[in-house]
C-alpha cells in the first residue's frame, strides 16, 4: 500500500473525483436520511403514518412514560426499557456464547495445515453470504410447534404436546448465535494465526498448566481479535431485526423489530425515530468501549 501511495504524481487529488459519486450517494442515502430520523424523532405523529411538522419531545417522553387514560397524567411505563434491556442482555449473551463456541473452533482451525484451514474458513464463511431470512426460517421450521424436533418427540411418544421453543427468548438467542457465530470465529482465527507457537512451548516447558497457558499467554496476545470479534457480534446482534421478528414473533421483542413496528402497524414514526436514535447511541457506546479496550491493549 505504501508503495502505491509513492506513485502519487503532481496531479495528486485529481483521482478524488472518481470517488465523488460513491461519496455523494453515501451522503444522500446515508447521512441525510439519518439526519431526517433525528428530526422526525422531534415531531408529532400524523394519524396515518408520517408526521405533522409540529415540534414535540413526546416521542422521547413516551420511551419512559405513557399517558394515563383517565387522568391524562404521565405515568412511568417500563415497556420500552424492558425491550431495550432485553436487547442489550440478549446481545451480551450472544457475544458470550459466540466466544464460548467460537474460541475452541478458531483454535482448532488455527492448528490445522494452511490448506485445511482455507477450507474451514470457507465453510464458516458460506452461511454468512446466504440469506439470513432463509436461515432464520430454517431454524423456525426445526424448533416450531409443528417443527422437526417437536414432531419427532411427539411421534416417539416422549411428549404429548409440543414444547414451546419458538417465540421465546431461547429461540431468539439461538437465532442470534446461529447468525453471528462466524463473526466471532474469523477475527479470533486471524489473531490466533499470528500467535507465536514458541510462546506456548515456553509456557509448557516452564510447567504451566493448560489453563495458565490459555489465560496468561493466549488470551492477552489475542486481545485485538477478541475485541474485534465481540464488537462484530454485539453490534449487529443488538440491532438485529430479522431474528426477533421471526423467532420472537412479537413475544420476545428486541429494539430492531420494535422500531419497524412503529413504521408498520403502529404508525408512530416519531416514536420509531426516537427508538432508532437510542439504538444508534447504544451502538456508538459499544464502539467507544471496544476502542478503549483496543487502545489499552496497544
Amino acid at each position: 500500500m505504501a508503495a502505491i501511495v509513492n506513485h502519487r504524481t503532481s496531479t495528486a487529488g485529481s483521482g478524488l473525483s472518481l470517488a465523488a459519486p460513491a461519496i455523494v450517494l453515501a451522503v444522500v442515502l446515508g447521512c441525510i436520511p439519518l439526519a431526517f430520523v433525528v428530526v422526525y424523532s422531534l415531531l408529532t405523529p400524523a394519524s396515518f403514518g408520517g408526521v405533522e411538522w409540529v415540534a414535540s419531545a413526546n416521542a422521547y417522553r413516551s420511551l419512559l412514560f405513557r399517558k394515563d387514560l383517565f387522568s391524562e397524567e404521565l405515568v412511568f411505563s417500563p415497556d420500552h426499557l424492558m425491550i431495550f434491556g432485553r436487547s442489550v442482555l440478549l446481545a451480551l449473551a450472544t457475544t458470550v456464547l459466540c466466544f464460548a463456541v467460537g474460541f475452541p473452533t478458531a483454535a482448532y482451525m488455527a492448528s490445522r495445515s494452511p490448506r485445511a484451514r482455507k477450507w474451514w474458513v470457507l465453510a464458516i464463511t458460506i452461511p454468512f453470504w446466504t440469506s439470513l431470512l432463509v436461515r432464520t426460517l430454517a431454524l423456525m421450521l426445526i424448533i416450531g410447534d409443528q417443527g422437526l424436533i417437536n414432531g419427532l418427540l411427539i411421534r416417539s411418544g416422549l411428549i404429548n404436546a409440543p414444547v414451546a421453543m419458538l417465540y421465546t427468548d431461547f429461540a431468539v438467542l439461538l437465532g442470534l448465535l446461529y447468525s453471528f457465530l462466524p463473526f466471532m470465529v474469523l477475527p479470533l482465527l486471524s489473531s490466533l494465526e499470528k500467535l507465536d507457537p514458541r510462546l506456548l512451548e515456553a509456557g509448557a516447558d516452564l510447567y504451566a498448566s493448560r489453563w495458565r497457558i490459555a489465560l496468561q499467554i493466549v488470551l492477552p496476545n489475542i486481545r485485538p481479535g477478541i475485541a474485534a470479534g465481540c464488537l462484530l457480534v454485539f453490534v449487529p446482534a443488538l440491532g438485529s431485526y430479522v431474528v426477533p421478528l421471526i423467532l420472537g414473533g412479537g413475544r420476545s421483542m428486541m429494539a430492531g423489530d420494535l422500531i419497524a413496528l412503529q413504521f408498520g402497524t403502529s404508525r408512530n414514526w416519531p416514536l420509531g425515530s426516537a427508538e432508532s436514535v437510542v439504538l444508534v447511541l447504544f451502538v456508538a457506546l459499544a464502539f467507544a468501549l471496544s476502542n478503549l479496550v483496543r487502545r489499552r491493549a496497544a
Binding site: T9, I124, W129, S273, V280
Partner: protein, 266 residues
C-alpha cells in the same frame, strides 16, 4: 500448537459446522418431501418446486429481485471501483473519512438504515412528488452494496505491483490512460468478485426491501416472509432452497473469479 490443544476443541469445531449447516440441510431436504409435514418424510417429490414456480406472486417477486439486484450490482460496482481508485491517492485522513462515510451501512443497524431511507423517500415524495418506483429500491440497495463491493477491489489493489503503474506513467501514459489500460484490467478479478458480493448482499436483503418497497415491488425475501402469515407447507422450503442455490452459486462464481485472477497475475 497441536500439542496444547484440548481434544474437545475438535469436537467444538465439528459442532460449530453441524450447527451452521444442519438447519440449512433440513430446510433443503424437506423441500423434496412428498407430504405436507416438516417432520415426517413421505417420499421424494418435486411437487413443491412445481407449486412454487407456478405461484404467480413468487415469479413476480423473482423478477423484481432480479431487476433490483442486477441494477444495484452494476451501479454499486462502478461506484465502488471509482471510489477505490479515487481514494487510493487521497491523503490518509481524507481516505479514512470517505471510507467511514461509505461504510456507514455496515455500522448502523440495518433496520435503522431502512426506516431512515423510508423517511427520506416519503419526504421526497411529499415535497417534490418524485417517486422512482422500483428505482427507489435500486438506489437504496446500491448505497449499502458499495462498501461490500469495495472490499475485494481494495484487496486487488493491494496486490497490484506499483512499478507497473510507474512504468505506464514513465512512458507518458496520462492518468486516465494508465487507469483504463493498466490499473482496471489488473483490478478486474477484484471487480468481478466485488460485483458478485454486491449481488449477493442485494439479493438477500430483507429489512430495506420490506420497509421501502411499495405495492407491487415485493422482492423474494419479502415474499417468502409474507408466506409465514399463512398455513405453512414445504412450498416455503422450495422457495427458500431456490434462494440458497442462487447465493451459493454466486459464492462459487466469485471464488472462481478470484482464484483465476491470482493465477493470471502470478
Amino acid at each position: 500448537m497441536n500439542r496444547h490443544l484440548p481434544r474437545t476443541f475438535a469436537l467444538f469445531a465439528g459442532l460449530s459446522l453441524v450447527f451452521l449447516y444442519a438447519p440449512i440441510l433440513v430446510l433443503c431436504s424437506f423441500s423434496f418431501n412428498g407430504g405436507r409435514l416438516f417432520h415426517r418424510w413421505e417420499g421424494f417429490s418435486f411437487a413443491w418446486y412445481a407449486k412454487a414456480i407456478a405461484n404467480e406472486g413468487f415469479r413476480d417477486a423473482a423478477v423484481n429481485t432480479l431487476v433490483v439486484s442486477t441494477a444495484a450490482t452494476l451501479l454499486a460496482t462502478v461506484l465502488a471501483t471509482g471510489a477505490v481508485i479515487g481514494l487510493q491517492r487521497a491523503g490518509g485522513r481524507q481516505q479514512q473519512f470517505a471510507t467511514a462515510l461509505i461504510g456507514l451501512p455496515l455500522v448502523v443497524p440495518e433496520v435503522v438504515m431502512a426506516i431512515a431511507t423510508l423517511i427520506f423517500f416519503s419526504s421526497l415524495r411529499n415535497a417534490t412528488g418524485v417517486d422512482l418506483g422500483l428505482g427507489n429500491l435500486v438506489v437504496a440497495h446500491t448505497a449499502f452494496c458499495v462498501p461490500f463491493a469495495m472490499m475485494p477491489i481494495r484487496a486487488a489493489l493491494r496486490g497490484v505491483d506499483p512499478s507497473v503503474l510507474t512504468a505506464a506513467t514513465d512512458l507518458y501514459a496520462s492518468d486516465t490512460a494508465t487507469r483504463r489500460h493498466v490499473l482496471i484490467p489488473l483490478l478486474m478479478p477484484g471487480i468481478g468478485s466485488g460485483a458478485a458480493l454486491a449481488f449477493m448482499v442485494s439479493f438477500d436483503d430483507f429489512a430495506m426491501s420490506q420497509l421501502v418497497a411499495g405495492p407491487g415491488q415485493t422482492t423474494l425475501p419479502v415474499f417468502i416472509w409474507a408466506q409465514l402469515k399463512r398455513p405453512l407447507t414445504p412450498e416455503i422450503n422450495a422457495m427458500s432452497t431456490i434462494m440458497l442455490v442462487v447465493s451459493i452459486a454466486l459464492i462459487c462464481l466469485s471464488m472462481a473469479v478470484t482464484a483465476r485472477g491470482k493465477l493470471t497475475t502470478r
